[in-house]
């Protein structure tokens, strides 16, 4: 048996207003330095970043913060949630992130988001670049072709958690460690009813950014796009196409990684992320 191990991150709750609704938000953080705000994928929560929160090569220089979006993980839905269907919109997502940064008094953080988080960093880069030191999109593209009908995610004759996990299981690279593959899937099994589907409203309906990123210039706010070769949802070619229209955007295609780099294969992911964080630090110095 190994000795008990206390991890360095701490978790806290924050209540803040988002577009007129009070939201009680759960977040975890570790480290000190430049704020690095991490955004989880659709239908999941901040646990996806647990390895990063324990990585001293990162936390020695960055204050890593991962919060659960309202309706996700340990963040409750706003009061009155039972009376309407959850649908994430571009505006709601942007304002939630900005409200969190404001409430936490984060000074020009680096924001790193995955999947829907990767999509929203493009919108942040486009509309609010001045508020951020750099932006990192994981599995990020302005658009990707849908590959299933989202109505399967929330109906009474199919277990939502199980079908969500089974659908995304193929997005994990075959090389990813079994332990982390199933840990990643466990989070999908635990999502609230209809929440993954509600997040995908943003992804599929409300945030097709093709042709809408005019004027985005990554030379003003550095933009890094890292995509796993096994991600067939946001495919490498989707990221490469997106980057073509953004001057200064830097793309890396990650080998032996799928749609959840930080949680499915943290050791492989950090080999790609650390040089990016180093470059951001160098530019800041």
């Amino acid at each position: 048996m190994s000795a008990p191990a206390l991890e360095p991150m701490v978790g806290r709750y924050l209540t803040m207003p988002v577009m007129g609704a009070e939201c009680r938000i759960y977040f975890e953080e570790a480290g000190s330095g430049i704020p690095l705000l991490c955004l989880h994928t659709a239908g999941a929560d901040g646990r996806q970043f647990r390895h990063l929160l324990c990585d001293e090569a990162v936390t020695s220089r960055y204050r890593v913060i991962a919060f659960d979006l309202p309706w996700h993980g340990k963040s409750y839905p706003p009061t009155g949630w039972q009376e309407y269907e959850y649908k994430l919109t571009t505006e709601l997502y942007v304002e939630t992130i900005r409200a969190f940064c404001l409430a936490m008094r984060l000074d020009r953080p680096v924001v790193m988001g995955c999947s829907i988080g990767g999509r929203i960093v493009l919108q942040l880069a486009h509309a609010h670049a001045g508020e951020f030191r750099a932006l990192i999109g994981l599995e990020s593209a302005d658009y990707q072709q849908p590959w299933y009908d989202t109505t399967w995610l929330h109906r009474s004759d199919v277990h939502g958690g199980e079908v969500c996990a089974a659908l995304v299981s193929g997005l994990i690279a075959p090389q990813s460690p079994t332990e982390y593959r199933h840990e990643t899937l466990w989070q999908y099994m635990q999502g609230g009813p209809g929440i993954f589907k509600g997040d995908l409203y943003f992804y599929r309906v409300d945030s097709d950014l093709r042709g809408k990123l005019t004027g985005l210039d990554a030379r003003r706010c550095p933009l890094y796009l890292l995509t796993g070769e096994y991600d067939f949802s946001c495919m490498p070619e989707d990221t490469l196409r997106t980057a073509e229209s953004i001057p200064g955007a830097k793309v890396t295609i990650m080998k032996e990684v799928g749609h959840f780099p930080m949680s499915e294969n943290p050791a492989q992911f950090r080999t790609y992320l650390l040089p990016v964080l180093e470059e951001i630090l160098s530019a800041t110095a």
Partner: protein
Amino acid sequence: MANSGSSARTEQDRILVERFRRAIELAFKADTDLLRRGWLVDTCCLIEIGAERILLTIRNGRPAIMERVPLLVSWDFAIRGGAEAWTALWQPVPRAGWHDLFALTKRGAMCIEGNLQLFMANLQYFKDLVALPREGGTR
């Protein structure tokens, strides 16, 4: 689609069907967790491998294979793919974009059709079942 069901049967298709049959037999001889997870699965589904067709009749999660599909037979849903798609899916470490049923349907190399409620309600069971021929398989 890589296969319409009308192309000529090939030796490669036949070998793949045999590989699938043996993998299922072997898995269900042992105390596979597919039985635990699939205990509510009762269905009949058509699997098309190139020009070969087999019928899987599943009771309480345990499949039986019928290699001679009767005429006018009913089935609940079908999973169809060409030899290239099945061969790629069953590689020990499949290449990117060929490594999952939905990666293959997205690229048009496979097709899943019919009444999909039971398939979706037991999705991981079916994904794991059809991936059984993969050596050292991951799921």
